[in-house]
Structures are given as structure tokens and as C-alpha cells.
């Protein structure tokens, strides 16, 4: 597939478009009810989960599946800090991100020891299952199988069970983290990330500290997904271990692939489409899983580079280049 480089005018348009989308989104509560608002909020969480995942498997090229572990760590951190320590939920978001980053650090230790490919996949999968076991068996802290409810809370005099208020908070967090990730990928560091993916040995030969690159990418991925976990905890109001199992991992992986591996735009598209799709399939009870599988398979067969490739074909403004573009 060939793509044309965006002109400087198109790049300016792209910048405008980046900010125009969230500004327009600010108006969505005028046209939604509690249900549709809840689904849109879920999309924003999925965007962050998919973004963190695609960073590691798409941009860094590491077959690591600890994403759901980071998500669970963030959700439980937020729930525990709110319910047990009485912290306002909003303050738990960066703390949940920090604990997710710690999870990223732990997961990266396997990659740093030279474990790659399927071996890394199995180790990180085991890490996720270990975390789920921990949620189940540390009942005084996590509530065990009964889960952990978040306390009812208000902000600006509005209940945090209000989906519109949650939407504005989720949108702000999502925009900040997506923009930060884009900036990271467009920096010298981002280019090093992709160099590691292409050839780790050759990258090291250029005096690029590949270990530090791998470590930092895992940590940032853990931070982004940990923050998403904190949003999820408030989104559902009650955190259960079952929410952080293999099914969640498979759904997130499908979002990465359907959107386009290693693409920020793809992460957004994959998350939006695959969060909305099951809701459209509610009309076919019992057949949802079958239709969901068929639709995902059809998209991947028709567009192996994901939905982002479709947009790139439509206009150069959707082309993601992570090196300096000449004006």
C-alpha cells in the first residue's frame, strides 16, 4: 500500500483535527442518554487500554501480554485507595497510573533478561493470571470474589455516579495521555522504540541504550493502562477479579489488531469500533459472540493493517510519521 506524505498545510490540518475532535466531543452529552453516555465512557477507557497495549506489541515489537495485569492493578489501586484510605477518586488516577507503571517495570524485567517471542508471551500471561489470583485471595484488601465497591462520592456537588461528569473527566485524561504518547513517539525516544522493534542489535550498535528504551516503554504503557484501570473502577463502581481475565485480554488484543498494530489512530479506532460493536449485537442474544468473531475476522482479512490503513488511503493527514517531517 502506498501512502502520500502530508504537506505542511495538511499537517496543520491534522493538528487542528486532533484538538477539534475532543472539543466537539464536549457536546455529546447533549445528544446522549445514560446508556449511550455509559458506552462512550467505556470507549474512552478502551482507547487508553488499547494505546498502552499497542505501544508494547506494535511500536516496541515485544510479544508481551501483561496489559490486563496493568489494567487490573490500576483498577484495584484506585478502588483500594478510595474505599480503604478514603482518598478522593480523582486523586487515585495518577497513583493508579504509578502502580501500573510499577507493573510495567516488573513485566519489562523478563524482556530485559533477553526473553523474547513466545516465552515472553507466556511469562507475561502468567503475570496477568498471578495478579488475578492475588485479587481473589487477598480478601481483606480486594474483597475477594465479592469484589470491592467504590464509595459514593460527589465532585462540584454532582454525584460521581453521573455519567456526564465522568465523561468530562475521562475525556480530559484520555486526551492528555493520547497527546503525551504521540509526543513521546515523535521524539528521539519514540524513534528509538521503533528502531528496537526493527532490529535490536543494530539499534544497540548505534549506542542507543536498548534496555532503557524497553524499560521506559513498558513503564509508560503500564502508566497509561493503570490510569485506564482507575477510570474503569469508577465507570463500573465495583471492581471484580473476573473483569481482568483472558477475555479482557483477547478483546484488547482484537482492538489493537482491528485498529492497526502500532498506530495511535488505530488504537482509537479499534477501541471505538469494538466497544460499540457488541452493543449493536445486543439485538441478537446468544449470537453476539459468533457475530463479533466473524466481524473481527472479516475486518482483519480485508484490512490486515487495520482500520487506520483505510483512513490513510483516504487522506494523507492520517499518515502517522514518527520522524521529523520537512516543511
Amino acid at each position: 500500500m502506498s501512502t502520500t506524505m502530508p504537506t505542511s498545510r495538511q499537517r496543520r490540518l491534522r493538528t487542528w483535527a486532533f484538538w477539534a475532535v475532543p472539543v466537539l466531543l464536549l457536546l455529546t452529552p447533549l445528544a446522549t442518554n445514560a446508556y449511550t453516555q455509559f458506552i462512550i465512557n467505556g470507549m474512552l477507557i478502551s482507547i487508553l487500554v488499547t494505546l498502552g497495549f499497542t505501544l508494547v506489541i506494535g511500536n516496541l515489537g515485544q510479544l508481551a501480554f501483561a496489559n490486563t495485569a496493568f489494567f487490573g492493578i490500576g483498577a484495584y489501586a484506585s478502588a483500594i485507595l478510595s474505599a480503604k484510605l478514603g482518598l478522593p477518586w480523582i486523586m487515585t488516577i495518577p497513583l493508579a497510573g504509578a502502580l501500573g507503571a510499577l507493573g510495567g517495570f516488573l513485566a519489562s524485567s523478563a524482556a530485559l533478561r533477553g526473553i523474547r517471542s513466545y516465552y515472553l508471551a507466556i511469562i507475561t500471561l502468567a503475570f496477568g493470571e498471578l495478579m488475578r489470583w492475588a485479587y481473589l485471595h487477598t480478601k481483606p484488601l480486594t474483597g475477594g470474589t465479592d469484589g470491592l465497591p467504590l464509595p459514593r462520592e460527589t465532585m462540584f456537588g454532582i454525584s460521581l455516579s453521573d455519567d456526564t461528569l465522568k465523561f468530562y473527566i475521562f475525556l480530559a485524561v484520555t486526551v492528555v495521555l493520547v497527546k503525551a504518547t504521540l509526543n513521546l513517539l515523535r521524539s528521539r525516544f519514540g524513534r528509538a522504540v521503533m528502531a528496537v522493534r526493527e532490529n535490536e542489535v543494530a539499534t544497540a550498535s548505534l549506542a542507543i541504550p536498548t534496555a532503557r528504551v524497553i524499560l521506559t516503554t513498558f513503564i509508560w504503557s503500564g502508566f497509561v493502562v493503570g490510569c485506564a484501570g482507575a477510570l474503569f473502577a469508577r465507570h463500573v463502581g465495583h471492581v471484580f477479579p473476573e473483569s481482568f481475565g483472558m477475555l479482557h485480554l483477547i478483546a484488547s488484543f482484537a482492538m489493537v489488531l482491528v485498529g492497526g498494530l502500532g498506530s495511535v489512530l488505530g488504537a482509537v479506532l479499534g477501541a471505538v469500533v469494538l466497544t460499540a460493536l457488541p452493543e449493536y449485537l445486543r439485538a441478537f442474544p446468544g449470537m453476539e459472540e459468533l457475530f463479533f468473531g466473524l466481524i473481527v475476522a472479516a475486518v482483519l482479512v480485508a484490512m490486515p493493517l487495520g482500520l487506520a490503513s483505510l483512513l490513510r488511503r483516504l487522506s494523507p493527514i492520517f499518515v502517522e510519521r514518527y520522524y521529523r517531517e520537512e516543511s
Partner: protein, 392 residues
């Protein structure tokens, strides 16, 4: 005076839409010929076998509709899948409440999902009858609009201990359980009941999930010589425990199991009648599933869902649907949500003819079913029992 009149007129004009909105809310999801009921459950996913409970319940709606409905209104089920997942369940609840605008909710199989839904539904205020999930925390503490229509975990735990103590001269009771919340939801209320009746368990043992041998536990019990054993174990581990109990010559000690095991399935798993002949399980119904009293209910389900394969779950939600219809009839044709809630709180000792214990809802207590029968083998036949040696 003129100013006061103007002020009152203005206040009435401002307040009128609010009152109108309240009126509209009271009758949302209601027409002259239909009452829409949101039915949530795991219609897909790993726990989809639980949805049989909701199929049974909807078959009862169909029966009522065929007989003319309630005060001329049909019960229209709006089905939504939760897949036993809290996020998906919340989406389903919000869709039913704010998009489909149903009059009320009935159903829910997975306790975790129901617990996650409680704040949203409590805030929305529409009546919700929990028709399958058993966690006590769904309806306790009391929420004005949430009613439990099946025995809760606490009711089942009490029923287990009550049956154990109904055996004459039972003083020495042992408990064996998994170390998870599911097991504790049965064993802790059972402990409380025993304690209230002056009995302290003389042995408390753990058998982990997936364990394939219970020799260590059985040898400890042999030293203890209990009169009765309460076993809060899943079916596979129950079969292993009973097998080892018989192997070490203790097969004559009665064992009381949870609603999570089925008597005949346990017999199939062990493949040996002698191993299970002294095993008893919680059984929420008035008869065996293939018994005379259950047959009309099975026939009813097959009439409206001809391909439905019946299981122990198929019947569990029908009782609360009967209680709902009785409350709707009591309200009369001038139905509102508040009137229905008030009528549900007037349901007393309602004999469903299917659940072993009646339903009673009061303004102070919305956990309607306080007990459960027990099933065990009597003269080689599976039999429903009220108490030791006392057929239902």
C-alpha cells in the same frame, strides 16, 4: 394579596412540569395493554446455563399473557444480555432504564453483576425483583425498590444447619469447605445457626478446589467421629470427599451439601450409590425435578420454549414471577411504580407451589425467601425433605 396570588401562580407554573415528570416516571414503560419488564441475565458467555432461570420466568409471563394478562395488560419482557460481566451488565441496565424505559426489572443470575448494578438501580428507583442471584448484599442493607425472590446465601446456610440439627442427638458437627467466598457464603451462616443453637463445630477443615484426594481431611474426621458433616464444596470435590469417606469406613456419616451440587449428578460422578446414600443437598423446590408437583412447570416451559432442555435452574425464578403477578393484581388497573412497590411489601407467606418456602416481603425486609428444603436418598429414591426423616 395580588402579589401573593401572582407568586403562587408563578410557582405552580414552574413546579407543574416537575410534578408532570414525576407522574410520567411513575407510569414509564406502561401502556393500556402492556407492562414492559427488563429481563437481564447471562444469555451468552461461560455462565449462559444460568439463563435457563430467566427462560422459565419468561415462560410464566407467556402463560399469564395467554390467560389475558394482568388487568388487561400483557407482560412484555425486554431481554438484555449481561454475559455475567459487570460492565456489560451495567450497560444492559442503563439501556433498559434510560433507553427502553421499562416499567420494572426482574431477573439477574450472577451475584457479582447484581452487586455492581445495585447503586445504579437503587438510584433509578424502579422496582427490581432479583430472581436468581443469591448474594445477601444485593438486598441487604434494605433498598426501597430492590426485592429478593429466591433464597439468599444466608437462607441456604441456615437451612443446611437446621437440617443437620433436625437429626436427633446431633451434637458433634464438622465443617469442610473451600477457602473461597462462595463456600463461606454457605458455611458462615451455617456456623451462626449452629452457634445460636448451642453447637460449636468440632472440626473445621479446608479442601482446596481442584484437589483430587481428601485422605488427610478424612483421617482427621475419623479421629473426630462427627455425627454430621457440612460440606461447602463444589460438585467435583464433593464426589472425591464422599469417595474417600467411604474408603476409610465412614460412609455412614451423613453429609450436608450446598445448592451448588445436585444429588443425582453427584451420584453420576461417583458411580456408586453406597457412596452418596447419606448425602443431602439444599433443594429449593417442593418436589424432585421429575416429580409430579414439578411436571406442570416443566410442561409450561416446553409449551412456550419447545426446545428448552430443563435443568435445576429452569424453575428457580418462576416463584418470584408469580409473586409479582399477585402484587400487580392487588394494585388494580391504576398501576404506578410506587403502588407496585407498596403492593410487593404486602406480599405475605405467598405459596408459589414451586419453591419449597413461601415469599414474604415487608417494608423492613425485602429478602423474601427465608429457607429451603433438602434433597436426599430415602429407600434408594431421591426425596425432598423438610427435616430429617420428614418428607416434604
Amino acid at each position: 394579596m395580588n402579589k401573593l396570588t401572582t407568586f403562587l401562580t408563578a410557582a405552580t407554573l414552574v413546579a407543574a412540569p416537575a410534578f408532570a415528570q414525576d407522574d410520567a416516571w411513575e407510569t414509564q414503560g406502561l401502556t393500556d395493554d402492556a407492562i414492559t419488564i427488563g429481563v437481564m441475565g447471562p444469555f451468552s458467555g461461560n455462565a449462559s446455563s444460568y439463563s435457563k432461570a430467566l427462560i422459565g420466568m419468561m415462560a410464566y409471563y407467556d402463560k399469564v399473557n395467554e390467560e389475558g394478562g394482568v388487568h388487561g395488560r400483557k407482560l412484555v419482557a425486554v431481554q438484555e444480555d449481561t454475559a455475567c460481566d459487570s460492565a456489560k451488565g451495567l450497560a444492559a441496565a442503563k439501556k433498559l432504564i434510560s433507553q427502553d424505559e421499562v416499567f420494572m426489572l426482574q431477573g439477574n443470575s450472577c451475584s457479582g453483576v447484581a452487586l455492581a448494578l445495585r447503586p445504579t438501580i437503587e438510584e433509578a428507583g424502579l422496582p427490581w425483583i432479583v430472581a436468581h442471584a443469591v448474594s445477601d448484599s444485593i438486598s441487604d442493607p434494605l433498598a426501597a425498590n430492590i426485592f429478593h425472590g429466591v433464597p439468599t446465601g444466608r437462607a441456604n446456610g441456615y437451612a443446611m444447619a437446621a437440617f443437620v440439627l433436625s437429626k436427633p442427638d446431633t451434637k458433634n458437627v464438622a465443617i469442610i469447605e473451600h477457602s473461597n467466598d462462595w463456600a463461606h457464603s454457605y458455611s458462615n451462616p451455617a456456623r451462626d445457626y449452629l452457634k445460636e443453637h448451642g453447637v460449636e463445630p468440632t472440626a473445621e477443615l479446608t479442601m482446596e478446589r481442584g484437589q483430587t484426594d481428601a485422605t488427610a481431611q478424612v483421617l482427621k474426621l475419623r479421629q473426630n467421629k462427627p455425627d454430621f458433616i457440612i460440606a461447602a464444596l463444589y460438585e467435583a470435590e464433593t464426589a472425591i470427599f464422599l469417595r474417600d469417606l467411604k474408603k476409610y469406613g465412614m460412609g455412614d456419616i451423613p453429609v450436608m451439601g450446598t445448592a451448588g451440587t445436585d444429588l443425582e449428578n453427584t451420584l453420576k460422578r461417583t458411580g456408586d450409590f453406597e457412596t452418596v446414600q447419606n448425602y443431602y443437598v439444599i433443594h429449593s423446590y417442593v418436589d424432585n425435578l421429575d416429580g409430579e408437583k414439578m411436571k406442570p412447570w416443566g410442561d409450561m416451559i416446553h409449551k412456550y420454549y419447545p426446545d428448552e432442555e430443563l435443568s435445576t435452574f429452569s424453575f428457580v425464578s418462576i416463584g418470584s414471577a408469580e409473586a409479582l403477578v399477585s402484587a400487580l393484581e392487588a394494585v388494580g388497573p391504576d398501576l404506578t411504580r410506587s403502588k407496585l412497590i407498596a403492593a410487593l411489601e404486602e406480599v405475605r407467606d405467598f405459596d408459589t407451589g414451586i419453591l419449597s418456602d413461601p415469599i414474604t416481603w415487608t417494608p423492613e425486609d425485602h429478602q423474601g425467601v427465608k429457607g429451603s428444603a433438602v434433597a436426599g436418598f430415602v429407600d434408594g429414591e431421591p426425596t425432598v425433605l423438610k427435616a430429617w426423616g420428614q418428607p416434604y
